[in-house]
Amino acid sequence: MVLLSGCAAATRGAPAAGDSLSALRPQYVSTYLHHPGKPVVIRNATILTAAGPELSRGSILLQDGKIAAVGGNVTAPPDAIVVDGSGKYVTPGIIDAHSHLGVYAAPGTESQSDGNEATDPNTAQVWAEHSFWPQDPQIPLAVAGGITVIQALPGSANLIGGRSATLRLIPARTVQAMKYPGAPYGVKMACGENPKRVYGDKGPSTRMGNMAGDRTAFAKAEKYRRDWDAWLTEKEGDPPERDLQLETLADVLRGKAFIQNHCYRADEMAQMLDLAREFGFHIRAFHHAVEAYKIADLLARDSVAAAVWADWWGFKMESLDGIPQNAALLQQAGARAIIHSDSEEGIQRLNQEAAKAMYAGRNAGINVTREQAIRWLTANPAWALGIDSTTGTLEVGKAADVVVWSGDPFSVYSKAERVYNEGWLVFDRADPRAQRTTDFNLGTSAPGVGQ
């Protein structure tokens, strides 16, 4: 709701007034604080800014958590830590638009299987952050792969799975301390096989049942939104009864929460675009989208991003038509392509997945440049998450979310050597003290996460 975020910022930490409505009080506010440190200047590196042409022998200055300067000639303050970037590459921190870290934590036990509230096809009321385990040992493994921000999503058992959480991957005791300040909520939806398989007799059991379930939910949300918006304007009489499920969907209708839609088949994505038109909201991104290339023109027309794997296919019927040129064809059509992981292993090398997708395009005669492909991992997911004004590119004023790579990030041999999360060196391959482990890692004999 419009009022909530302002309210939250104003009252962080302070108890809310006792007589106000719960709906108007701060809701699970981010307690993230930028980690202070000395300025850092990385010199003489190849810089992929994701905002323009590559800089060869460029420099970048990180100061107070922000990018203070980037270019061929950068002046650094005398106390700046100097990193020699000779032979190295610098990119924005990688943003995984589709992760289940923390909600499907390792070790993968039933006890920590917290990603699907598979009790009803519509669970718009659940929030992924309420499942998220900050001690998931998968987190430092992802950081070692250059990930700075993830969208942690509920699973895809449900038509409407709940709210996602946009999180900074930093060591923290609480999820609140990881929440990306100001990030809009995502709302997970799922098409296709999963919802209809999970609910069987109860329904939905068909794709038409899926659509009917979605439409029923949004039809109810329309009235809820109208009732609340009217009450908030006039503040007369009793407020409408609060309904957490409808509250989430009403925020979708207000354009405040972004639909993140798991959807494989082209024809189903086209159906969902129509559904969005029926209810007047915008689908921010289709996820998995293995057939996005078949409707790249429609996605470009409606400004819907497509978050895809490089080459996954064939693991279920609706993934049959996956091809490795998916992202390249989206790029060619002017649509917004994203390479996502949906995998605790894939998230550790999203750069390689983007490389596979880029070269699959090039080797098939679809020209994709490194400048374009780096955006699949940075600027484009930042846009899908609604945080592109503050991260996703190496531009002055943006967050100092930066990765220093040992070489070309589109080579299989390159490694993330240093990862800065808003200026905080959260991973340094050369320094075991900067290879942080979670509590879960203690007492096992595996060495640092850099291995």
Partner: protein
């Protein structure tokens, strides 16, 4: 031999002999020139010539005489390697992991002890996954059964051919046994009991072999498995068939080494996520490991999994081959090998881990895994470093025959390259 399964096995063995000859009829003489040859068994040969004849490598080197009748292939600038061998997949046996599409699954059968179950006759040569894997340079696969204490017998397939007989290169190539998490149900829920059952089955196989007459006269106590299954274990007990032991936890690996000593078995570790912790023991026992190099997420069966497992094993002298269990990743052998290099292995050893080392583990290195005269002509001509994403397959040969570089996926690309599509 007794029982239908054993008979079935005889047939399959006969087929594999056939299969090699099938290639002979169709294959021509091909001379690949101008590229850099990586034979794996020896140092690279720049601007060398590779001669393929009758489905075999006829010659490789700098001064190879090219017959006038040979088809010449100019591989200038290319990198030439043996075809990649998958160290354990369900290629040809399975398509979907999710959604119980039983029509596409042939790698599991009911029961715990299926030593006599050979997957060869379940293989679907028309599987659409096969051409997709080929496009990434995979020419052979150890295709294996899954689930149970003894999931069954794996076979080595060459990934081309219209009939199973055209594909089977070695059947069986290995017996599978699961002494880890997956084998627990067969022991009623505990590894200790699974191992006890394993030993009893192995002892009964020997006992059955010693007392066949008693068995036929019904003068034996009930055996721990059917006669078919016990019979199928005899080649393993005689050291003639490798036993692929699925084991990841350090203690499971130690158990595997222990039972190998007890029964004098030729074992190969399949999985081996915590292998680095017992690398010297594996090296001393000359036990190869077929592993997934990218598996490092801690699970209770392998809390100490790590990304450089393959490297540490290799450094200790263990023979390492690559398998990728996940159906979505069957084609990604070269990415797996590239990551081995990324994590400290030499480039040569990484290439070996998707070719010759796997062939050695499977006991087929006399025919597979390197470019040497007399070996099966499974060859890939790459545009560059095969472990890099920038490279692609320019030519691919299986049993000396050039395979067109098309798949269902290239057809989809052609259809949708420009929109609207061309139906």
């Amino acid at each position: 031999m007794t029982g239908g399964w054993a008979d079935g096995r005889t047939v399959v063995v006969a087929l594999s002999a056939c299969a090699l000859w099938t290639g002979v009829v169709e294959a021509q003489t091909i001379a690949i020139t101008g590229g850099t040859i990586y034979p794996v068994s020896g140092p690279k040969i720049e601007n060398g010539t590779l001669l393929l004849r009758d489905g075999k490598v006829a010659a490789v080197g700098l001064s190879v005489e090219i017959p006038a009748s040979a088809t010449r292939v100019d591989a200038k600038g290319g990198w030439i390697t043996p075809g990649l061998i998958h160290g354990g997949s369900s290629l040809g046996l399975k398509l979907f992991d999710i959604g119980a599409q039983l029509e596409t699954q042939e790698d599991t059968a009911s029961g715990d002890v299926k030593a006599a179950f050979n997957v060869a006759e379940a293989v679907d040569p028309a599987s659409i996954a096969i051409p997709v894997a080929r496009l990434e340079g995979v020419t052979s696969s150890i295709s294996k059964p899954a689930v149970g204490l003894f999931p069954g017998q794996a076979v080595l397939l060459d990934l081309a051919g219209d009939r199973v007989e055209d594909m089977v290169a070695q059947s069986p190539v290995a017996m599978m046994v699961d002494l880890g998490q997956g084998g627990k149900p067969a022991g009623g829920g505990s590894r200790g009991r699974t191992l006890q059952r394993f030993r009893r089955i192995m002892r009964d196989a020997l006992e059955y072999d010693r007392r066949r007459d008693d068995f036929r006269r019904n003068q034996m106590q009930p055996l721990a498995a059917s006669a078919d299954d016990l019979e199928a274990l005899l080649p393993v007990l005689r050291g003639r068939l490798p036993l692929f032991v699925i084991a990841n936890r350090r203690s499971d690996l130690e158990n595997a080494l222990k039972v190998a000593r007890e029964f004098d078995l030729k074992i190969v570790i399949w999985g081996g996520a915590e292998g680095w912790q017992v690398a010297p023991e594996l090296a001393r026992a000359k036990v190869p490991v077929l592993l997934e190099p990218l598996t490092n997420v801690p699970r209770f069966e392998a809390l100490n999994a790590r990304l450089d497992n393959a490297t540490l094993l290799w450094k200790a002298g263990v023979k390492v081959g690559v398998a990728q269990q996940d159906a979505a990743l069957f084609r990604d052998l070269r990415q797996a090998a590239g990551n081995e290099v990324r994590n400290g292995m030499s480039w040569d050893a990484a290439l070996r881990s998707v070719t010759l080392s796997t062939a050695e583990a499977a006991g087929v290195a006399d025919r597979y895994g390197s470019l040497e005269a007399g070996k099966v002509a499974n060859v890939v001509v790459w545009s560059g470093d095969p472990l890099e994403f920038s490279s692609k397959v320019n030519h691919l040969y299986i049993r000396g025959r050039e395979i067109p570089l098309v798949s269902r996926q290239t057809e989809l690309l052609d259809r949708y390259r420009t929109l609207p599509p061309r139906y």
